[in-house]
Symmetry: C2
Subunit: 321 residues, 2 copies
Amino acid sequence: LASEFDLIRRFFTRPVSHTVLGVGDDGAVIRPRPGMDLVISTDMLVAGTHFLPDTDPEALGRKALAVNLSDLAAMGAEPRWALLAAALPTPNEDWIAAFCRGFFGLAGEFGVDVIGGDTTRGPLNLTPTVFGEVPVGQAVTRSGARVGDTIWVSGAPGRAALGLAHLQGKTVLAEPGLSACLEALQRPRPRLAVGVALRGLARAAIDVSDGLLADLGHILEQSGVAAEVDEAQLPTGAFKAAPEADAALVRHCLLGGGDDYELLFTAAPEKAEAILRLGQQVGVPLTAVGRIVEGASPSILLRDHDGRILTPPQGGYDHFL
Amino acid sequence: LASEFDLIRRFFTRPVSHTVLGVGDDGAVIRPRPGMDLVISTDMLVAGTHFLPDTDPEALGRKALAVNLSDLAAMGAEPRWALLAAALPTPNEDWIAAFCRGFFGLAGEFGVDVIGGDTTRGPLNLTPTVFGEVPVGQAVTRSGARVGDTIWVSGAPGRAALGLAHLQGKTVLAEPGLSACLEALQRPRPRLAVGVALRGLARAAIDVSDGLLADLGHILEQSGVAAEVDEAQLPTGAFKAAPEADAALVRHCLLGGGDDYELLFTAAPEKAEAILRLGQQVGVPLTAVGRIVEGASPSILLRDHDGRILTPPQGGYDHFL
């Protein structure tokens, strides 16, 4: 951009509160607190692949950061810093200003210092990188699940996918479920309070971005275990908004929709009470939906509402659904 | 990409040597050494903006990392970790393999663990993020230059721009200068040994990516000072390769070319001997080219070969040249 420096100064330079050196030099400088590991995640969002070019820029700004912060939540990390690298077509200042309202707004809500990045001309591409802290050795990974663990999920995964299906005309949702589904799609809230509180409680965790079964598969694969999931236990409050005739679509969203960024985690059975209490404290429903079992990793046995046992094919959850 | 997991496993997952948790989870986990600040930089490289789509992928992989590591060098940081976020059009495995040879090859040469990133489908976009360590408070910034400082430059900035001019048919270079210019263009070496050794010696530093005068301008602006540059002192060894008739082009490359990523820095005059010794130790010429003076920031007085004083307009160096 001819006016890169000007753009950076006007839109991307904000005060920082816990950073040695922010935007404006060859690099940013941060000083992690003693005794802390640093958790780092990046997600690249491309117009046409991850969002439509005419997506509301403020919502897009929020979501670009939210999906990255969700990865920190899944590791039990407290969010602290973010970078934003952005390729922009011909600069549209209104668009940039709205995007920044969303991005910096969410950063402010979670106490994240935006410390640098890059802006350049090119096909629209937004690549935030986020940094969180977790006490040394306490990061929650995908590989810690053990046979006997209970499988838990936060909130109600699938609402965002159902909201998208409504917008695409594949179903017609009724209120108040419709609003809840659209909110989950357009303004997902990363489950950071849950994630930080899961340190020492959860043995393994992941955020649901590919879909409940697919992401459970990632935990199983990295932990070398199998799982049983009870479909009747899955949280479905918002799904009553859909017509009964669309039951298959609802089920597809529930088991395969990932865009609401809930947390899926496993914990020893004796932690159940502490986990339920945690959910009440932070105001997010936490629901036990199955258990880790011995078996060929990463196979999943799904017990449906009629008690039938189904085996979704490994990695082919979308096709199965 | 349908085969994103497969691609990541096959091409982007390499052994790490000093990382708590690398590729494969929701985030990477690193543990900066006690007493160290973390320096972070990211550069987004877009096809058509920063490189031609048919650029040799191995050279591109090296360069994508090199330009990022150069920012660490300019801060006096030791490179430690890198992320790679990449949007790729229809996956071409030969292209990806060659790119990775370049990227991971250079990472290995500098002891950098590649700890994560993202791959997705989209217009070709390569966004590395790099992390270096520097003892607490010792990062070298753009804002520390003081009146009386000597201005130094490493190597011979402008060779890459001259090599590009040769490839574009704007001049015809003779050997051995031609090879040196093409090497500077296609395989720039980040000046990391120089950068780390400048801790405690340099007061301010920047890497020359926009051009010598433009990047000096950034130091002046952030330090609130002005500068005098002696054109006769600028290192021009490789430039003898150009025909005398192209003197104006050569001068443009020297003062305005930035693609070889040399370091420009300022230091107190009494450090001159230590700096010259450092250059000999690491095998990189370090040349005094001017001094920091009082005056309207960020103005530059350029003394040309005939002793005339010129004043390049602020921010308009390209036009001036």
